[in-house]
Symmetry: D2
Subunit: 366 residues, 4 copies
């Protein structure tokens, strides 16, 4: 089935495998007239590029974005924006020894069950490189949101058991430390924790938090296409994500109504909330506060220590994964979360233009 | 925007408000030849019906399902199954005093922001009664899954701070206690906790867990339509859900690869896993183990104690919510989770029929 | 597969069989704030209701529309509008003799091939009564378009070999004669032709033309969702339609570029065209002129004279169709064409709101 | 809005402009295990390539297809197949003089109205080169259909007023004459007619007919996604198409039921029809006979003789179109029609796998 598209009015279709010719995305439905250049996309791709710290795979990829269509004289034309990133450092030989066995925690087994065979080179379509298309497309959405006064920011909220102290939140810090935490002290502890896992030939997980600022109230549809449900879907569709939360999330389940309800008040003549347990969404619709969402990433399944597994032929064996892998997914996943959140919010924002007869009239000038 | 449909090949479209004429669903794309009668649907609706325990609203609704189309001679015909449930106990007068203010934790404010006005009677479309259409449609999907050897079971995993001990899991117990817990001891504690909240004019939240048994390996699409992402979307689209987890969920984020990876082995000649931290899904595709997913429900926002809020006219005021409300959503939400999970799994199962040329040939007999 | 929905932002989902409990539609995505009442829908349904002339089936159906949701205080709320029409004059006995044979020109054979069995009562879902949902939904779209200054008008362009003379076009005449022609003289000839067919126990076909006036330039998407392609799809989805044309249609294929091209000129300071061979659409996008589209309806397949056919059991036999049938579909199909065209144009109009950054800004007030 | 995707289970997303870097398509949802190589696609692209006869533009383009993803070891993997065709002979200078005026019969005016500006180089996205993505994607669908015993054949049925005599139908002839007619005698007349139009600096239109052979009965959905409606949509979405017909099409509108109904009989133990006025489709569902559909193409709007038009600035002027253009679209459109028909039939064939519980069971082996 065709499951490689995301969005309704603004839609990305991604394609590509880890060791094929390249990867990319087609962004369809972007409003015409948006200033856009390759550098807008490259900036996002560079944030997920490997080889930038000791915690990322040593694979060397320039990951240069080429815009093949949809932009003319520096502006989007309203037609599909096709973005291509060529693979350059495939080294398929690294993976030949795993073509006949199923790596624990990976999609090798399920791809074979579903499709009858698989592209075993570097995980094929289930590789983390699949996110290149998402990030390229998300960069377009982020540019669109920025023009409309909406900003999306993501960062590592926790690395393994080490959690950032939000009282020390420093936005600049996110780009300064290799784990993308907004708290330098926690980042240092997280690095120590990661170092320890690497020495033990093990890997770590973590939580990415994402905040959408400036989103107008009224975005999201009240039943199946709730803003939180769509954001949740978007984040859960990123490989290795095992959970999502909006606002207080699971903690809300243990709270009480009198504590969890956010009281409304009047601020500068407008409705506002004293707290934001709800994470900026009520009944699936944005309320004008910051939208806050978190995604839990499992530890990288590729670890150097031997693991028991089975072969395609149905025999038990031991897997030793050589290849080049990140000991933690989180730092490079931060921009993926940001991209998916931006894209989803932008799509729902556009969908909402037709929710009221008066805004329809305004858009049409009728 | 049209956000009231869910599913691709198997699709439900729901409609209806708390105090309108009724609510319902149209289920389109159900394979022809499935035995189905109103009783199949009624059984599910009865599980979400109010008035069954002290923890549910006193509103009296028979919630009788009428199948208006799509079934002939006791079997589905392949055409849309329209299901209607009339409202009978609306009592709109109860709500007239809240038409001009925004109840904290409810969608009143965001509906007004989005649509310019709202049906304020009992929450209109944002009422919990909206789930009637979901449950009716889910009952059809559950029947289809059952024919194919797949079973979906949900229960309360926790109520406020009280968690079920899964070592004491007793499936029969779920239907015996009013909080739908699979552990009688925890259920008793949960009841005591709820009693306490009611006395304090407060409300509680909780976590619903859902298990899908017998789902073949290979269900779910590898990128945006991952089985976990779609299930997550489905559950997050239920009002009051603030988080979802698959398998170990957020706990996986604090684990390590060597612990979190599930080792494969051979069992009765087939691939199997020694553990199920992954919750039955690898790379977005079912692996043949039990699929395990959880949803966190916030405490009921309607509480009897006075709360500070604002009016439509932009003035601060105090809200006192009379009406009829559940002190906890979880027990009645259990069947809603089950319905949404069943529907989503059934849709992806059908989508997967075309994933391989050989299964296409088999279905066509070519 | 779920094929009973039409539209993207504005979406109708229809359901119901000829001899089931009733038929209906759910209209989702209608902007909030549109004045709407049952009478708006009834007016359209009455135009397709049987029993109004000698050329329509004698089945007696009041076809009363009940709005079950989505309207509050006389205005749409933005949530799904569910419309129900009960069947009252089913008389299933009329059809029992055809349950085991395949009527020529009907969908009996293909339904059995597709689904393994069928609701044989009055054609089930393939009956002309299926259009009730379309007309009810189209009435909502027509109301929306009217608010935005767009008008949709359909009429019989030809009945069998009798064609209306467009030089004598009289809009009022459409509602005056039983064949819905805009030319009284042609209507009289058409009636004579129909009378002749009825005497010969035969049936007739015809062409319905539809004009959309006041549609702004810029509606329709340039590739697969062209305005003409979507309108064509909409009309071809009406039972018995075997062809569609836009503007000069098939005649254009025999013309030359110098004749077929419409020259632009300036009229009242705006771009206009001297001719309208294109039928108001260039490159799939409306150009501000009248949109003109035609649909060819085949003769009613139900005829009284005996026809050779086969049984479900694979034996050759003779079919004699008693039942109650129209000798021509066209007069009652006029409003169906109008409904489908209105719905499709309205959906594409809403989709177009996000085609330009400046109209997005205008709608959002940002 | 995102209008550059076509299909539900099998979906193509196309992109690219006439004078951008290139054009392409992403084909998502193709079943895994289908043998596929670049040559399969190239064969189709070569049929639409310019410069092959005196009736096509002199633009020189190799139009080489590169498969970037989705194929491994010579077979489709079930993941998206991205196909890229680079532009090599853009010569943008040819078009600079038309950047400020609206060519009659082209989409220049409507693109500007919709998007606020346009890529004026060679028509941008509205160029005939847009069909490269369709043809590449259609080649994949045709390969899939071929594996399942279904064949799609298109040819010119008429060129201007010259119609092929179907009594002289010769399939081999289609590829032998430059106008792709299945009748050598008509082809010769058509060439003479085209020569005459070229001398008069004028252009011609024509009709393409397409036949789908071997499609099993039961394909197509009974309401909005009828096989004929989807095929019609697909063909009407090709630039310059102004009408479509199924079977007898518009001629059926002037026929009578007794003539137009196809009688069933038993042939080799199976149901069959004595005639095929219906074009292989009853009630929107294939009946096992040949599916026959026609598309009317308007004359090429680009003609060398001067035409009156207006400028972007709102002044009347004269357009003289130099550029490189085909005097007729039909011969190169034949493969585009074939591609769109194949893709649409394949998608509906896959969707139909879930129409019956027994075929679902068969596909799953449950």
């Amino acid at each position: 089935m065709a499951g490689s598209s995301w969005g309704t009015l603004l839609r990305m279709t991604t394609w590509g495998e880890s060791h094929g010719s390249g990867l990319g995305a087609v962004v369809d439905g972007c409003p015409a007239g948006l200033p856009l250049c390759e550098e807008d996309i490259q900036r996002y791709l560079d944030r997920r590029r490997p080889g930038q710290s000791r915690y990322t795979t040593k694979r060397q990829e320039a990951d240069r974005a080429e815009i093949l269509s949809g932009v003319f004289e520096g502006k989007t034309t309203g037609t599909p924006i096709s973005i291509l990133v060529r693979n350059t450092d495939q080294r398929s030989r690294d993976y030949s020894e795993i073509m006949n066995l199923y790596r624990p925690g990976h999609a090798d087994y399920t791809f074979d069950q579903k499709y009858g065979f698989r592209d075993y080179r570097g995980g094929g379509r289930s590789s983390g490189r699949e996110t290149i298309g998402r990030v390229a497309a998300g960069a377009v959405a982020a540019k669109l949101l920025q023009e409309l006064g909406v900003e999306v920011i993501a960062y590592a909220r926790s690395i393994g058991p080490v959690e950032a102290d939000m009282g020390r939140f420093d936005r600049e810090e996110i780009g300064r430390n290799p784990v993308c935490m907004p708290d330098a002290e926690a980042a240092a502890k997280a690095e120590a924790y990661l170092q320890e896992q690497m020495e033990r030939q093990d890997s770590a997980g973590g939580v990415v938090e994402c905040v959408i600022r400036g989103l107008p109230a009224g975005v999201g549809e009240p039943v199946f296409e709730k803003l939180d449900a769509c954001l949740g879907h978007a984040l859960l569709s990123i490989g290795a994500v095992k959970g999502v939360e909006i606002g207080d999330g699971f903690a809300a389940a243990a709270s009480t109504g009198s504590v969890n309800n956010d009281m409304f008040y009047i601020k500068d003549g407008h409705g506002a909330k004293r707290t934001n347990h709800a994470g900026g969404i009520l009944g699936g619709i944005s309320d004008g506060s910051d939208v806050v969402i978190r995604a839990a990433f499992k530890p990288t399944p590729s670890i150097a220590r031997p693991q028991r597994t089975i072969t395609r032929q149905g025999e038990e064996t031991e897997a030793v994964i050589r290849g080049r892998h990140d000991p933690i997914i989180v730092p490079r996943a931060v921009v993926v979360v940001e991209a998916m959140a931006a894209f989803t919010a932008a799509d729902l924002l556009l969908q909402g233009l037709s929710s009221r007869l008066d805004s329809v009239r305004r858009a049409l000038g009728r």
